[in-house]
């Protein structure tokens, strides 16, 4: 027995020692530090039937309000205005006509070319008009070719005035070019007018270089966008479009709401009793409703209500039921869904 006891004790001490060493500190489970996040289950109709909004629109309903800042006031200021410096003179409006001038500048530049050979004396009054375009040439690159052209005609007129002269003499409507430069002086040149004036000018001019320039100018002017900066649609709202429309056609009645509507109708319905062939007494009736639930117009029998007496009676009963229940109670925010509804009156459902 001694042997057994000692060996048992040794065995136990060894086993416990092993257990204390190996099982002493079980590796603690590593829990991933993941934050839980809520999940909403949303019917897919909310997305598939929603009206397209602006994809670029910010998520927020309204843009973040800009912090208001108090405008700094200038001490001892005597003039009204938004300036930071107190000035006597009134603020000048931005020179709006300038862009128009530059657009109108090209026409006067080419036109002088034909005129000099035709009538020299009349050319003199024109120069005053020319200086105006000159600054314009500095602004826009287009006039540059014109300047190159200009020196050419001058020697041509002196040396070879004949070939051109033929062309100049042919049209007797020389005064018309004179009349044209005047509008630019008044600075009210209009695009259509200029076009009209240029087109007749072309046939008169036979000089190749000048016609090429004209064509180029035509192309350029055709490319120019002459739409007024204030043009565009009639959109008045300054607010950016929201992500969704205000009126969604995607509204859909829930089953409970459909049932509620149906039960309202069913309460008022006296189904035709005692008539044979209940199958043929199914009436489907279509009605338009106002947002307050009242009938809009008369209900329309879509199917059923045939020729036989019982069928007509069934159709009448259905129509009566709908009209009797007239103000329907339905969720107002889903008006689009029940604005136009169709009810099926089936006597078989009653039994």
């Amino acid at each position: 027995m001694k042997v057994g006891l000692t060996s048992s004790l040794v065995l136990h001490v060894a086993a416990l020692g092993f257990g204390l060493v190996s099982l002493s500190s079980p590796r603690s489970m590593e829990a991933a530090n993941v934050e839980s996040f809520p999940v909403d289950i949303v019917p897919v109709e909310e997305f598939s039937q929603s009206v397209a909004g602006d994809r670029q629109a910010p998520v927020a309903e309204k843009p973040a309000p800009q912090p208001t800042s108090k405008p700094e006031t200038v001490e001892d200021a005597r003039n009204i205005g938004d300036n930071t410096v107190d000035l006597d003179n009134a603020p000048t409006p931005n020179p709006r006509p300038r862009p128009v001038e530059t657009a109108a500048a090209p026409p006067p530049a080419p036109e002088p070319e034909p005129t000099p050979p035709v009538e020299q004396p009349k050319n003199e009054p024109q120069p005053p008009s020319e200086p105006a375009p000159v600054p314009a040439t500095e602004v826009t690159p287009e006039p540059e070719p014109k300047q190159e052209v200009k020196p050419d005609p001058a020697p041509e007129t002196t040396v070879a005035s004949k070939p051109e002269g033929e062309a100049m003499q042919l049209p007797d409507s020389a005064p018309s070019p004179q009349a044209r430069p005047q509008p630019p002086q008044a600075q009210t040149a209009k695009a259509p007018e200029r076009k009209n004036s240029e087109q007749p000018a072309k046939p008169r001019q036979t000089a190749q270089s000048s016609t090429e320039d004209k064509q180029l100018e035509d192309e350029i002017s055709a490319l120019l966008n002459r739409d007024k900066p204030s043009g565009g649609g009639a959109r008045r709202s300054t607010e950016q479009a929201a992500l969704g429309g205000r009126q969604t056609t995607g509204a859909k009645l829930a089953q409970s709401e459909i049932d509620a509507l149906r039960s309202q109708v069913q309460r008022c319905w006296n189904p035709p009793v005692g008539a044979a062939e209940a199958d043929s007494l199914v009436v489907s009736i279509r009605l338009k409703l106002k947002p307050n639930g009242e009938l809009d117009g008369t209900p329309e029998i879509v199917s059923g209500g045939g020729s036989s007496m019982a069928e007509r009676a069934a159709a009448d009963a259905a129509r009566r039921a709908v009209m009797r229940c007239a103000p329907f109670n339905a969720p107002a925010d889903k008006y689009e869904a029940w604005a136009d509804v169709q009810f099926n009156f089936d006597p078989r459902d009653m039994f």
Partner: protein
């Protein structure tokens, strides 16, 4: 209320710490189970050794007995030292034989009965020695799981009381108490499983050895009865 204090979350959950955190009931149960386990293993080792010895002794005795050696001589050598197993049975039977013949045989029939009784007694004594302490294994095997379960239930009870006291159901608060309680069940199973297995094995071994000794006793009884009949015939002749 010392046992109502819970281990702080994330505290030491080693076996040693679990043992020291446990309440005194659970501690007592654990210590008892550990002691039972120690004793069980002591018995197992002891029994295995003694059974092996017994088997070897039986083999040796059978070899000697069936070698044709004279029984008188065998008895003389065996009676002088402590015998066990078949030797003990043989010595008991021979002693009864001798006693009867030294005083002259009156009735050989009663002699046969006396010898059988003596051998039965010796056999019973040997079997008792063989099967001693096997009962402990059986009771440990059947009751240790329950004792461990008791410790677990008590431990979980106290740990739930402590949870109620701490007003927190955080698993980190609950876990150490439950782990400590479950240690009691683990110890119970640790003691019971070897005990059950060893009991089944050892009792079947003891049964086999007993059968072997019973067979020897029957054989020896047959030999002696033949001797008695011969002696009676000699006397009659």
């Amino acid at each position: 209320m010392d046992e109502l204090t819970l281990a702080a979350p994330g505290s030491d959950v080693s076996i040693w710490a679990l043992f020291w955190q446990a309440g005194w009931v659970v501690k007592l149960v654990m210590i008892g189970l550990l002691a039972a386990s120690v004793w069980t293993w002591a018995i197992i080792v002891d029994k295995i050794i003694s059974y092996n010895r017994m088997r070897a002794a039986l083999n040796r005795f059978e070899q000697v007995f069936w070698s044709g050696q004279s029984l008188e001589e065998l008895y003389r050598t065996l009676s002088e030292r402590k015998t066990s197993g078949m030797g003990a049975i043989f010595v008991a039977a021979m002693r009864e034989w001798k006693k009867s013949f030294e005083k002259g045989v009156k009735s050989p029939l009663s002699l046969q009965t006396r010898i059988d009784k003596a051998m039965d007694l010796a056999l019973t004594r040997e079997m008792e020695r063989l099967e001693s302490r096997l009962g402990f294994l059986a009771s440990v095997g059947s009751s240790a799981p329950f004792i461990g379960l008791f410790g677990t239930v008590v431990g979980i009870m106290t740990s739930f009381q402590a949870i109620a006291g701490s007003k927190s159901t955080n698993l980190a608060v609950v876990a150490p108490g439950i782990a400590e309680a479950l240690l009691a069940t683990a110890l119970g199973l640790l003691a019971a499983i070897p005990a059950v297995i060893a009991y089944n094995k050892l009792s079947s071994d003891a049964g086999k050895i007993g059968l072997r000794m019973e067979g020897f006793a029957d054989e020896f009884s047959a030999i002696l009865s033949r001797q008695i009949d011969e002696k009676v015939a000699q006397k009659a002749a």
